[in-house]
Symmetry: C2
Subunit: 193 residues, 2 copies
DNA sequence: TTTATTTCTTAACCTAAGGTAACATATTTA
DNA sequence: TAAATATGTTACCTTAGGTTAAGAAATAAA
């Protein structure tokens, strides 16, 4: 399982055997049951998550109902906003599936960056890539209709459509569950005619 | 004008007089006329922009018309996706106003990171902040209606509504120019009644 | 298994955004 | 200045998402 993490890291930097062992010794690997809430609204956690297997979701509770805005699956990381700016979290994070992930906090980060400066380089490059990727995702969202967004997701992340409940997918796509249902029916209808 | 940059940098790291002078010597400061196109679709530029004064915008041309998805004003930076992944750019970047900005490419970045390792730290922290901020922005967009988005922008960035043409604001808010016009009229009507 | 609970779909009605077009202003530019 | 272009508003009609509510299907719990 740790291999997944090291395989990911190897895309950015090269680690020695010793360095890998040191990382393993930090006890950052966790196995979490489906439904577990990792972060609650109002909490002030310093934890960052990196998913090795499974899926976690980020959601808000607005006027009493859940608005899911993001999913993080294999090889995707989430650094909650509250861990950056030290304010209480505005959202929840929970496990959609039984999930294996790493949980690291800022202290550990500082320790790693001091001990292994190349970690600093990796995190900079990864973050820069992420900034650019997120901007593209946001642009795509802005410039397309809900139906296009759904079709786009079907192309790029067919797995998400399989593994995620429709009503959570709906708010992820920026519509109500009923609209997603209708929109899907419309697409089927088009493909028939 | 360079003070604006150094003031920004000082939020992350402390520079000596010598280091500042070295940075100035790199000739990264540019004054650009309104309307200038910095990056075109299909181009494969390595340049990154950081706005000191003025405003640049990012836009796509889809089915013949412009879709503006982002603006960058004072103290905001744009690293085009193409500079990260080395593919041709999918979008344009142009100056909305006469603008003063820094233009740096990857080679310069590598040189800076080697010479001043603390630059690496600054860029990592800044990128991580940006990732978190962008996610919040995207979440807000997903969970609100066009009208709410407009009112939200009016609160958080009233300057943008003043300095940016309506039809560009419209696509930034994810609607057509006519819809923004109508939506604004609706708000005025509500405040009257 | 039976009962709850959650999830998904469908339908009717309402509201707001998209599409097209006309018109009114600005703002360029010749 | 006059002509051309770009920008903003309004109106009409169409399309699609929001709302409410009912019911079906799947899942979890008793």
């Amino acid at each position: 399982m740790q291999d997944i993490l090291f395989n990911f890291i190897s895309k950015y930097i090269t680690l020695t055997e010793d360095e890998m062992n040191e990382i393993i010794s930090f006890d950052i690997f966790h196995s979490v049951k489906r439904g577990t809430i990792l972060l609650k609204e109002g909490q002030n956690s310093q934890d960052e998550y990196f998913v090795l297997k499974g899926c976690i979701r980020k959601y808000y509770i607005i006027d009493g109902d859940e608005k899911t805005t993001a999913f993080f699956t294999e090889m995707e990381g989430l650094t909650p906003h509250c861990a950056i700016n030290n304010n209480p979290s505005e959202y929840f994070v929970s496990c959609l599936e039984d999930t294996i992930l790493t949980i690291a906090n800022k202290d550990l980060g500082v320790e790693l960056f001091t001990k292994f400066p190349k970690f600093e380089i990796m995190c900079r490059i990864y973050s820069e890539e992420l900034v650019a990727k997120q901007q593209i995702d946001f642009d795509e969202f802005k410039t397309s209709s809900p139906e296009q967004r759904y079709l786009n997701l079907l192309q790029k992340r067919p797995d998400l459509i399989q593994r995620i409940p429709q009503h959570q997918l709906a708010s992820f796509l920026g519509v109500k569950p009923q609209s997603l249902s209708r929109l899907r029916a419309r697409i089927v209808e088009k493909n028939k005619g």
